[in-house]
């Protein structure tokens, strides 16, 4: 009996395996992850110390760490010149418009499509709406140019042929918030509709059937069943979108606006400023100061959004 017990104890309480042994035991799985670990190390972690540039007066030929240290001068300049304020305002306002309008339109289309009985139409409509998502921003800029170019644009000609006066859109900063928001809607509606549509088709259909038997009409079914069921999904997607509110869609803005400085007042976002001040004016220090500001503030906003999501539904939290 006694002997049995000690033997059992010995078996039941194995020593905590050392780290080295655990590594050895799982070496194949670790090796399988190694390319990815290396990839993110080189392309994401190795540049991180380079954020130091934001505190220097960077000289290209001296490299990052031998350039003279200037403290927070770059940031001071960006704040006092009002440049950073303008970039923040544009970036945040565009994103808010994209998020709010985008979600409303996507949700509407998804709900409406769900009411369509004709399966062929439903499928075809989804594929066609999804098409703009596949197109490079380079081509998108050409499509917009086709419509709005002052001399040859489709809309310009339409306006003129009906006796109207066409503004020179590519010189008119005030027009671009509308254009960019519309183009973004055009590009993202199909994508978002598919996401919401999947959420709707995943819904429990028994409630719908019960409502139908009770005589609820289509509008009532949407109002009292579909919308409330989708509410958590909408809130969570919304919160994650808010988490990325400082991140701009560089490709869209840069291809539509490019280096047309007449439009910068209303179209310059953080990404385009960072790109231009590096590639065109070679101002590496200021460019990286703006980028670092975006990264740090953006990081805390994501953390906040994630905490909010976690509070609502831990299953959906990122970490």
């Amino acid at each position: 009996m006694d002997l049995d017990r000690t033997a059992a104890k010995r078996i039941r309480a194995p020593r905590q395996p050392s780290l080295g042994r655990t590594v050895l035991q799982h070496r194949t799985l670790l090796l399988m992850c190694t390319p990815a670990i290396l990839f993110f190390f080189i392309f994401a972690y190795m540049p991180m110390p380079g954020a130091y540039i934001a505190f220097t007066n960077f000289q290209y030929n001296m490299g990052i760490y031998r350039s003279p240290w200037v403290g927070i001068k770059n940031f001071q300049f960006l704040f006092t010149s009002g440049q950073l304020g303008l970039l923040l305002k544009n970036t945040v306002l565009y994103n808010l418009a994209f998020i709010v309008l985008g979600n409303v339109v996507q949700l509407t289309f998804a709900i409406l499509l769900n009411e369509v009985r004709n399966k062929g139409y439903k499928k075809t409509a989804q594929s066609i709406m999804f098409l703009p998502y596949f197109i490079s921003d380079v081509l998108v800029s050409l499509l917009v140019y086709n419509l709005l170019n002052f001399d040859y644009g489709f809309i310009s000609h339409l306006v003129r042929s009906t006796g109207g006066e066409m503004a020179k859109v590519y010189q008119n900063a005030g027009a671009w918030p509308f254009i960019i928001v519309l183009v973004n809607l055009w590009k993202s509606t199909g994508y978002g509709t598919v996401v919401y549509f999947a959420a709707i088709t995943g819904m429990d259909s028994s409630m719908m059937e019960a409502a139908q038997i009770d005589g609820a009409n289509a509008w009532q079914r949407i109002r009292y069943i579909t919308l409330p069921t989708l509410k958590p999904t909408v809130i969570i997607l919304f919160l994650f979108a808010i988490g990325g509110i400082l991140k701009g869609n560089f490709g869209l803005f840069y291809n539509l606006v490019g280096n047309n400085s007449m439009l910068f007042k209303t179209t310059d976002i953080i990404e385009t400023y960072v790109y231009r001040s590096m590639m065109n004016s070679f101002n590496f220090s200021q460019s990286s100061a703006v980028g670092l500001f975006q990264s740090v503030v953006g990081f805390f906003i994501v953390l906040g959004a994630n905490a909010f999501v976690k509070h609502l539904d831990p299953d959906y939290a990122l970490f």
């Binding site: 709406m129 009409n217 509008w219």
Partner: protein
Amino acid sequence: MSSHVNIGKMHATHIKKDRTQIAITVITYLLVTVFCLMCILPFWMIIASSFSTEDAIRRSGFTLWPGAENFTTYSYELLFRSPDQMIGAYVVTICLAAAGTLTGLFLVAMTGYALQRRDFPFRNGIMFYIYFTSLFSAGLVPFYLLMVQTLNLRDSYFAILFPLLMSPWLIVLMKNFIKAIPHEITESGKIDGAGDFRIFYQLILPNLKPALATIGLFLALSYWNEWYYSSLFLTSKVEYRPLQYHLYNVINKVASLKNSVAGSNVVITDLPGETLKMATAVVATGPIILLYPFVQKYFVAGLTVGSVKG
């Protein structure tokens, strides 16, 4: 009696026309059809313009139907008279897309599988290490300097191949796909004495075809549409640019437009600039539009799986 009433009621609801249903259906067909037209017509306009004479465009702008009398294939003839640039761009893009998609797909699948194994104690740590990069980055400048100064990749096609190979989002997406494969497959492989890599390669991969198709297409699309890294790292020294970057230059730089159709020895006095841009756009984007109807269901599948989490 009561059952009679019930039947009567149900009958009535079926007979009584649901007016909101009719209204919603009409609105839906109207809205969706108009939006679908808005999605297609711009592409049609580019195609129509590319087959139009330059004169017609100068006279009446870009139209949906330039008219039979203005039909010409001149811009395409010019484009294919000295097709070096275009063929070069195609070759570069196809090679990058093929190499990048195959390599990326293999690495993403392998990583996704390892990180999905419940008996792998480091999976959470490694996942966080990968995911963190999408929460915080050093910004563009340090990345640019790393690529150009440390890795010396300026004017190298590797500067485009590498950054697009994988992303945290693709790895999460792959993990979600692999979750659907029963853990018993791994267990049975273990019992048969197969190593982890062999289990992945011989048992898991063959079951992953829809996931591989979806993620492969996302990768291929990002290589096909790539112009961003090209604009950062490929200077004018590079002879052949990827397709979309070539298109970008043709649209935005007059010199590139001229170079795209004529070597230095050919002089074209009146270059049909607008129609040439359109023809270049058609040739550069054509394959995507043609393939799109056959592959879009995989993208839809990817979004549905990916939107569950991450």
